[in-house]
Structure formats: structure tokens, C-alpha cells
């Protein structure tokens, strides 16, 4: 049963991964990537990595890919120049892909990573929580790397703000404080004018 599910998910995963790079519409490509992440999460569930599987869906599908989808839909990218040379470079690309695949297959094949070399892990009991175990190890043995990872996020925030927050004279940014503080006299100017004679009958009727 498990191996049937595994092959089913793997087939979907490989198929959607191929589709990501081959479909013409970038929105479909993003959606296929979502499918690929989803099936990866399913395979991780089969490996008893429930926490990581859920995080994959929450973080990648829920946040990153949705953002991607927005970017792809909002930016009006002209795809024709991007696709130029696709056919021309295809033979070289296929050759490189085949060579790389063969090399990796030689090394990562079952003769090195088979069940004889690395025995199948024993399934844990139903009440075993790998979330708890991950948390335990993350905050004890790996506290130092964990803190550095947090720092990387801080640097990312600083970098993003320093690169995007700048006052250009041509941008029409809003200043809510000024907007709230505004007085009637700043916006409306009362002008005294002499009354004019009515010009048209229709305007006179409506008023």
C-alpha cells in the first residue's frame, strides 16, 4: 500500500515538475509548482516527517507561492523574448541534463543508498511527536545555528528596507499624519463672487 502511494505521488511530482518548465503560461507554471510542493509534502508524510510536510505546505504553498502568483499576475512580462533560443539551446540543454542525470544516477543509485547500506528506519509509535523532537534538538544542540538563521532574517529585513525605502521626488507617497492633521482652510478656499444671472432654463429648474 505504501509503495503504491509512493509511486503514485512520485509520478505526479515528476510530471508536475516537468510541466513547470514546459508550460507556456507562467500562471500555470506557478500552479504546477504548487502541485509539486503538495505531492512532495505527501511523500514526506509517508516518511513520517509530518511537521516538515505541514510546514512545506504552510510556508511554501501558503506564503511563497501565493506571492509568486501575485508577482507573475501583476507584472506584465513579455514572454516572447524570454523564450527566444529555447529550441536552439534545447539539444545542448538535453545533453547536459542527460550527462548530469547519468552521473548522479551512478553515485546515488541503489548500490550506494540501497537497503543493504542504509537499513530502513524503524517506524515510530503513533504517539511519537517529531515536532517535539525537532523543537527539542533545535533549541538545545542546534541553538547556535538557529540563532544565526534568525540573524540572517534580520539582515534580510534591513537589506530589503534599505534598498526599497527611499524618498524619490517623483513618487506620490502619502503621509497619514499630515492627512489627519489637515484643517478645513487648507483644502477649501472660500471665494466671494458676485451673483450671476441664470443662463439656461434647465439649470434653473433643477436647482
Amino acid at each position: 500500500m505504501e509503495s503504491v502511494l509512493f509511486y503514485l505521488f512520485s509520478a505526479v511530482l515528476v510530471g508536475s515538475a516537468v510541466a513547470v518548465v514546459t508550460v507556456r503560461n507562467p500562471v500555470f507554471a506557478v500552479l504546477f509548482l504548487v502541485l509539486a510542493f503538495f505531492t512532495t509534502a505527501a511523500i514526506w508524510l509517508l516518511l513520517e516527517a509530518e511537521f516538515l510536510a505541514l510546514v512545506l505546505i504552510l510556508v511554501y504553498v501558503g506564503a511563497v507561492m501565493v506571492l509568486f502568483l501575485f508577482v507573475v499576475m501583476m507584472l506584465d512580462i513579455n514572454l516572447v523574448p524570454l523564450r527566444e533560443g529555447f529550441i536552439r539551446f534545447l539539444p545542448v540543454a538535453i545533453l547536459v541534463a542527460i550527462v548530469a542525470f547519468a552521473e548522479i544516477a551512478v553515485v546515488l543509485g541503489p548500490q550506494h543508498f540501497g537497503l543493504e547500506q542504509i537499513p530502513s528506519p524503524v517506524a515510530h509509535a503513533a504517539d511519537y511527536s517529531n515536532t517535539k523532537e525537532l523543537g527539542r534538538i533545535l533549541y538545545t544542540s542546534y541553538a547556535y545555528p538557529f540563532e544565526i538563521a534568525a540573524l540572517i532574517l534580520l539582515v534580510a529585513i534591513i537589506a530589503a528596507i534599505s534598498l526599497t525605502l527611499r524618498r524619490r521626488p517623483d513618487t506620490k507617497y502619502q503621509n497619514p499624519a499630515v492627512q489627519v492633521e489637515v484643517k478645513r482652510n487648507d483644502r477649501v478656499r472660500m471665494v466671494k463672487m458676485a451673483a450671476e444671472k441664470k443662463v439656461s432654463h434647465r439649470e434653473g429648474a433643477s436647482s
Partner: protein, 481 residues
Amino acid sequence: MNFVMPTFLPALPEIFVLTMACAVLIADVYKSEKNPFITYHLSLVTLLGAAVLTVMMHDAEPVITFGGSFINDSMAALLKVFIYLVTAVVFLYSRDYLIQRGLFKGEFLILGLFAVLGMMVMVSAYNMVTVYLGLELMSLSLYAMVAMHRDSSVASEAAMKYFILGAVASGFLLYGMSLIYGATGQLGLTEIASYIKASSGHDLILVLGVSFVVVALAFKLGAVPFHMWIPDVYHGAPTPITLFIGSAPKIAALAMVLRLLSDGLGGLHGEWQGMLILLTVLSVTLGNVVAIAQKNIKRMLAYSTIAHVGFIFMGVLAGSPAGNAGAMFYIITYAIMALGGFGMILLLSRAGFEADNIEDFKGLAKRNPWFAFMMLIVMFSMAGVPPTVGFYAKLSVLSAVIDAGYVWVAAYAVLFSVVGAFYYLRVIKFMYFDDQDDNTPIESSPDVRAVMSANALAILLLGIFPGTLMGMCASAASVAH
């Protein structure tokens, strides 16, 4: 599960730099118009304090803490002190240039300090996760610093290239690390080393992992054929950032090479030695030959970096403590030389004028004989002319590689460094034998002048008395083994 609280004391310099970087971050928001240099002074104090703490925390015996993620040994202390020193000089040289161009913002200092923190983590890393995270912390800060000059399209292009290629290199590093983890089941460098020692067999997975790691290291240091980003980034980035990228991070990158290849994968020396020989030969050739054709001095120095990286890999490939010590000596002195070279470009630049063409050095000897002499020392040292330190650095690496039995590599490298002498000497020819086009007097603050003079004289002094620094490198390399 038994968990013993680790001792935090060996990591005191890191904790101090982090705290101070956050303090600078806050001070930058609240600083008043009256005192715009408070962040700058705070940053220098941070680096000074970190140096003091590093020397205080230094112990002859290596201290390992945080469950094997962190090591404080002689190599870490030595390289960290030089990282602080180089960064402090970078901040000083950059100040006037950045003020003139309206780029002197707190972010430069804050990102610089975080990059220093990343380098410290790399230098002290003792398992693969920490090596990678330190590298990312440093690189992310550097990418943002390159992009900081938003109005310059060249800088944005350089930042984009640097970011994408750097991300690819990190991917290679991670893949290599995951293969090594898959083969050994260990993340700690000592555990990996002892696993390799125990299994004498020829492990194909490990070798594939090692080759990915070597590719990533070559990428980060900029060895041929993974050098493409160096000239564009050096040329496109604002000169102070080029100065920073070309100096301190190289020291950290060498530390990463020594930790991974020598400490962790030293048992596979036979496997990675061939790869390093190839990198050395290609880098020395391409760096020296292509530099001849450059008209922009930043590009020229970028290609010269590639050639120097070839020499550094030559020290590492010997695989002996003497070779590692030579590589360490070389990278430290190279960082000091790069400070002098790029610092001189900053010194000659003024508002609205970049002195980044070799032609801009024409007649410098008549404009300002003292700085021309300083540049002469820097160029002689990069070319490897005695009695400057460049000669001694090359000598120590070459003797290590000859002891390892690779006389032909040494002979080849010497041959191409003779070729390379041409473009360094051409700068000197421009300075001393050509007429000046530009008569503007050089304006700079007295502190910059003093440090620049000290910088060049240090190159001369270290060349005449290399013993102290070489001794420190030798003891650091022997303890690391």
C-alpha cells in the same frame, strides 16, 4: 536526552558584535543632525572591542562549544583579529568617498558589521551547518551593500549578478554537504574526519560531495573557471564596497576552505588535490593574462585577485601545515595589499570624479610624490618584488608546494607571475614617467592620510620582518591539524 548547557564565553566576541550591531541599528534611527558620525564611531568601537575580546578569550588549546558547532582556536583568533582590522580600515577609507556621494548611511555600517559577524561565524565554524549559515549571513549583507547605490545601473547589475551566482554557489555547497552528510551521517567536521579515517575505502558519494564543495569554494573565492562574477562585481560596485568585498571576506573564505577541506575532509586529500591543482593553474594563467588588457584599474585588480587566489589555492593543495600557514599568511597580506590598492582609488577620487582608470594615475609622482611612493609599494608587493611582503607570501606558498612534490606547478606559477608583473609595473610607469593630465591637488582628511601611509609601510615592514606574522600563522596551522 541529556543536555548540558554550553559555555557561551568563547563566543563572547560574536555576542558583542551582534549586540553592538543592533545598538548601531537603533542609534542610526535616533541620531541627531548635530552628531552624524555617532554610528561611524560606534562601529569602530565595536571592531576595537571585538578585537580586545578575541585576544582575551584566546587560549592555546582549542575550545569547542555549542555542541560542536563552534571552535575557538589560534586560527580563529588570528583571522578574526585581521578581519576586524581590515574592516575598520575599510570604514575609514570609505567615509569621505561615501559622504561626497550622499551614500554615507547607517546601512553601510550596519550591513558591514553583520557581514563581519558572518565572517566570524565562518572562521569559528566547526560543523557544516554553521559554515553554511555564516557564509549566508556574510553574503546576504554583501549583496545588499553592492546594490546600495540605487541610482547607478552598473551597481544594480553587479548586485544582481553577484546575488544570482552567489545563490547558485551556495546551492552547490549545500548539495555537496548533503552528499557528505548522506555518506557519513555526520555534520561535525571532526566526526566527518574520523569517519573518513575509519573507512579506508574509496567512497564514491564522498568524492562527489567533495567535488561539489570544492566547486562552491572556488566560486566564493573566485578561482577560474568560477571567476565570472569577480570582474563585473568589482567594477560595478561602488569603490568602498569593492574595497570591502576584496579584502575581509577573502580571509573568511580561506578559513572556510581550511575548515572544510583540511579539518573536515583532510582524509580525502588525494581526491581534492587534483581539483585544486587545476584551479590553481587556470587561475594563475587567466588572471595574469587577462589583467594586461584592462584599462579600468578596478577590473585590473579584480583579475589580479583571481591570480592571487590561484596562489592561495596552491598553498592549500600542498595539504601540509606549512602550506596552510603559507595560504593564511598570503591571504592576510593580500587583504592588506588590496586595502592599499583600492584605498588609493578612493583617495584620488573626489566629488563627481572616479579615479578608476589606470590613466588617472598618470603623473601622480609629480602631483603627490608621497602617495605615488605608497602606491609603488603596493604594486611592487602585488607583483611579488622583494623586499615587500608580496614576495615573502609567494615564497612561502611556493616552498610548501615544492615540498609537496609539485615543482612544475610552482614553476608554472612563477612564470605567470612574471607575466603579471607587467601590468603592475605599468601602473608605476604611468605614475612616474608620464605627464600629468590632472593637476587637482589631492584632498583628504589627515586620519585617512596617516592610515594610508601606515598601510603601505606595513606592507614594506612585513616584507622585511615577516617572522612574527609567519610564526603566528604557522602555530595557527599546526594547532588546526
